[in-house]
């Protein structure tokens, strides 16, 4: 089956690169804000004209360092205007920016630097500089490091270190000398040139560098800005990792294309407060964010006065009934509309304001499945929250939900210009203007992923909903397995159902080539900890709380509820979980158990916790395990625990059938 949206027209010649867009924005939107960052408690702001000056100062600074056309410049830092400038300036001098996850450990960073052969790096602070110096002998190509925050840098040998602001000042001094050279290089950049190399989070194996051209990136930006009517009046909060394709597309490509303002939070911990102050109109957050926010709202409501709780419940219930219909433009009775208006004045308005979501015009979530109740909760309040489906190789967008056609369990229709095909085994393939050029220095992997006609395998299994043409994703194609009795197992599908309970942070379901399904569960410390506090349950550590019999009981109830819902679907009947255990530590990216974008690495977990897995299948009631953990500074330690393995009730097939008939 193939589905396609209206193909998009080509990019105009004067807007097919970042230097050209910068020029256009500085001329057209010169006095409008382009970047804001909260520093020293105040929002600092740069207009497009000011940003233009800063970026060119840095570009000239690059030339003083000897940056050549085609050089790679690694960028590692949290979201700050200076790093977006570093990427744009790179293209101005004909170099290619390579954003790197700033929380990656030295070894991961070395791999990326080694692979792309970066000669320059623009980094945030001492921490990043230390990491690079630590692996300096593995990356001999690296010549110069530019750092933004001078704190603690005094003692370093400055032969290959440069202060970002001083480099800009040097560039400003030489602006006239370099004018011709800069112009020559910037004009030489066209749509077919590489815009960026983004390293995938590496669910399997080492991260691969995805090469995206200006055409890929800007065409996608153009199409998607038109899809959602994004204009220069939008405002977004840039808080997701800069090395992630999403942030690159939202905060670089779309922002430059539409000319809207990118706001950078003061620190990662102040993101919520900054969101409220900025009043973003266009917002992306992973489902985890919305879950966490809802949990914290609910926890705070528990502590509110009785009257407030009553009012909250009454109007939220009303919103859940009416809100989605209002948002989709369906007809609603006048009385209900009026009551919704009251609700907005009394509850929804203040709530949205407190959460910083009150001005959102277009909101997206993606990355993993979002709980239907959570999704509906935000939509009920009047937030136009939608889902999209995408990946790095597609420059994010494969499908997205149009306004007014939003469902909790689908990911929408193909994005403009995207063609989609479903293979016989259910795997989803796409072809689009955003389809990546290649994996950097890895022709083999490129050929495996992208065929000669440009179709790319997503690795996800899914199907189009009959009737409305919306795509529904069930699982990773390779993770969809079979039990020994031959019935289908979709672990992710079951994990998502489990994770919709606020008490459960992560779940890992096993079953492929085994007799029945089992699960590892991670409790959510915030939710369970709060519950423990309210019920006077004392605990000294995560481990102790996780092993508490009452917590086990609650989790068992959740597992059994999921089992009941799975029993309803004949295709997924055998995915019911027979045995489970609650893990003694949180799965963590530092231990290699998750990717940096917090996706579970199934195979690694399977190997690392092999004894636990055996216990789930050999009938034992408890199991002792020692686990190595990595602290944030890279040191390692060992934690040990004896875990209880529990049986969960499974809904019997006969009983189910009888009940159904």
């Amino acid at each position: 089956m193939t589905t396609t949206q209206t193909p998009s027209t080509a990019l105009p010649d004067n807007l097919n690169s970042f230097p050209k867009l910068l020029e256009r924005n500085a001329n057209k939107y010169g006095s409008r804000p382009a970047y804001r960052e909260k520093e020293f408690g105040i929002w600092q702001s740069w207009t497009w004209a000011e940003a233009h000056e800063e970026i060119y100062a840095l570009a000239c600074g690059y030339l003083t360092l000897g940056v050549e056309q085609g050089d790679k410049i690694a960028v590692a830092g949290r979201n700050r205007p200076h790093f977006y400038w570093a990427m744009i300036a790179a293209q101005i001098v004909g170099a290619i920016p390579v954003p790197v996850y700033q929380d990656s450990v030295a070894d991961e960073m070395a791999h990326v630097m080694e692979n792309c052969g970066a000669r320059f790096a623009v980094v945030q602070d001492q921490e990043q500089v230390d990491k690079l110096l630590e692996v300096a002998d593995r990356i001999p190509e690296l010549k110069q490091i530019v750092y933004l925050d001078p704190r603690g840098m005094r003692k370093y040998d400055h032969a290959l270190l440069h202060n970002y602001r001083k480099l800009q000042a040097e560039g400003r001094n030489k602006r006239n000398d370099f004018d011709a050279e800069i112009k020559r290089r910037a004009d030489a950049v066209t749509g077919d040139d590489t815009a960026v190399i983004l390293y995938t989070s590496g669910t399997t194996g080492r991260p691969k560098g995805v090469v995206l051209t200006n055409n890929n990136v800007l065409m996608t930006a153009k199409n998607t800005c038109e899809f959602d009517n994004l204009t220069e009046n939008e405002s977004i909060l840039a808080y997701l990792p800069m090395a992630w394709v999403g942030d690159y597309v939202f905060s670089m490509a779309q922002a430059m294309w539409a000319g809207f303002c990118v706001n950078c939070p003061e620190s990662p911990d102040t993101m919520q407060k900054d969101l409220q102050e900025v009043g973003a109109t266009y917002f992306f957050a992973p489902p985890r964010f919305f879950e966490g926010l809802l949990t914290s709202v609910m926890i705070r409501m528990e502590d509110a006065s009785k009257m407030k709780r009553k009012m909250f419940k009454k109007y939220i219930d009303h919103a859940k009934r009416i809100g989605p219909a209002l948002l989709d433009g369906r007809s609603v009775s006048t009385a209900d509309k009026l009551k919704y208006k009251f609700g907005r004045a009394l509850v929804y308005g203040p709530l949205l304001n407190a959460t910083g979501l009150s001005k959102i015009r277009v909101g997206y979530t993606a990355g993993e499945a979002i709980g239907p109740e959570i999704f509906e909760f935000y939509r009920a309040l009047g937030i136009n929250l939608k889902q999209l489906y995408g990946q790095t190789e597609a420059t994010v967008f494969i499908t997205q939900q149009p306004d007014g056609e939003v469902q909790a369990d689908t990911v929408g229709v193909p994005s403009p210009g995207v063609e989609i095909r479903i293979a016989d085994n259910g795997e989803v393939f796409y072809r689009s203007p955003g389809t990546f050029a290649e994996y950097y220095k890895n022709a083999e992997a490129t050929a495996e992923t992208k065929d000669s006609e440009g179709w790319v395998a997503t690795g996800d299994a899914g199907f189009f909903e009959p009737g409305n043409g919306h795509l529904r994703i069930i699982d990773r194609a390779k993770d969809v397995g079979k039990l020994n009795n031959g019935s289908m197992v979709a672990p992710k599908y079951v994990e998502n159902k489990l994770k919709f309970f606020p008490d459960i942070l992560e779940a890992v379901v096993f079953g492929n080539e085994r007799d029945y399904c089992t699960a590892f569960i991670n409790i959510d410390l915030t939710a369970v900890g709060n519950w423990a506090e309210r019920n006077n349950i004392a605990y000294a550590s995560y481990q102790e709380l996780a092993a508490h019999p009452e917590v086990y009981g609650t989790i068992q109830n959740h597992v059994e509820e999921v089992n009941r819902s799975l029993a309803d679907d004949p295709r997924l009947y055998d995915c019911q979980i027979r045995r489970f255990l609650v893990l003694h530590k949180e799965l963590d990216a530092d231990d290699g158990e998750m990717t940096r974008t917090r996706k579970v690495r199934r195979r690694i977990i399977e190997e690392k916790y092999a004894p636990l897995l055996t216990a789930l299948y050999d009938g034992s009631e408890s199991i002792f395990i020692e686990t190595e953990v990595t602290y944030e500074d890279g040191r390692k330690g060992v934690i040990s625990a004896t875990l209880e393995v529990r049986d969960a009730a499974v809904v019997a097939p006969s009983a189910q059938k009888v009940a159904a008939e």
């Binding site: 520093e39 020293f40 408690g41 105040i42 704190r151 603690g152 005094r154 003692k155 003061e266 620190s267 911990d269 102040t270 407060k273 500074d633």
Partner: protein, 278 residues
């Protein structure tokens, strides 16, 4: 080296292992003795604190460390001995004189205004620098306004430095212990002291909080060149972060020197391992 050898044996200034230049003497204690009635808290102690160094005072419980800090601070005036601070001999002082001498401190048990926000607490550290009158502040015009902006900027720089932006508006009473300690350090720091006294900055902290605090102490010392004198229980931390260490036991000095010198000093080892005292 005998730990109790006189400090005059030291050259006037020295360079630390990590390359920091340590300057001349900021404060010199000469033969200090402090008594409370019949109890002698400090017995004939002499040592100096040099510009730009991290100077630690350690010792077992009841060794007289806090009393020593209060003497340095000017809160107690010793019965015997001389204190030279910034080239001047110091006599007994009134509390406001103490506050204005350029020595800031933190407290062992945290002495913040619990109901006030982090920002307000840190702003109180600037009080001695504010000159506008009560009337001007009440009507919020002229000097008061300009001054507030100036002070706020200093406070914000400290907030940024200590990475506590996320708790700027939170009442400190609601904060975890480690953060409260950091706020207290912020309040001392914002006064731009020439000598910063830290009374058990790591007390009651977990390993991670201790590491954070050590990092901040070293950063303060390096970034602002602030001279720091600290009292600490945790030997490991002290040995890692200080340039020179004074060891006290039962009110007397039993050792003085670099961490490695002190670590090998037999008297110090005895004091910590608990050899019986006659």
């Amino acid at each position: 080296m005998d730990g109790s050898s006189p400090i005059t044996a030291e050259p006037d200034s020295y360079t630390t292992e990590d390359g920091r230049k340590i300057g001349g003497v900021v404060m010199e204690m000469k033969n200090i003795t402090l008594r409370f009635g019949g109890v002698t808290a400090i017995k004939d102690i002499s040592f100096d604190i040099r510009e730009g160094e991290v100077r630690a005072i350690i010792g077992p419980n009841g060794a007289g460390k806090s009393s020593m800090l209060n003497v340095i601070n000017g809160f107690y005036h010793p019965q015997e001995g001389e204190i030279w601070y910034l080239g001047k001999k110091r006599g007994p002082m009134k509390p406001y004189e103490i506050a204005r001498q350029g020595i800031a401190r933190t407290f062992q048990n945290i002495a913040l205004f619990r109901g006030m926000t982090t920002l307000d607490n840190i702003m109180t550290g600037r009080l001695t620098k504010m000159k506008s009158g009560i009337f001007s502040q009440a009507i919020w015009k002229g000097r008061a306004e300009a001054e507030e902006i100036e002070q706020r900027e200093k406070a914000e720089r400290v907030i940024d430095f200590l990475e506590i932006q996320h708790i700027r508006k939170a009442p400190v009473g609601s904060l975890p212990y480690g953060l409260q300690k950091r706020v207290e350090l912020g309040r001392a720091l914002v006064a731009e002291p020439s000598l910063l006294l830290l009374d058990e900055p790591m007390a009651g902290m977990n390993v991670e909080e201790k590491e954070d605090m050590s990092r901040f102490i070293l950063d303060v010392n390096e970034e602002f060149g602030t001279t720091i004198a600290l009292i600490e229980h945790d030997m490991g931390v002290v040995m890692d972060i200080s340039d020179r260490v004074v060891v006290m036991d039962y009110g007397a000095k039993i050792g003085d020197g670099t961490p490695s010198e002190v670590r090998n000093n037999q008297k110090v080892i005895d004091a910590y391992l608990g050899v019986s005292h006659d």
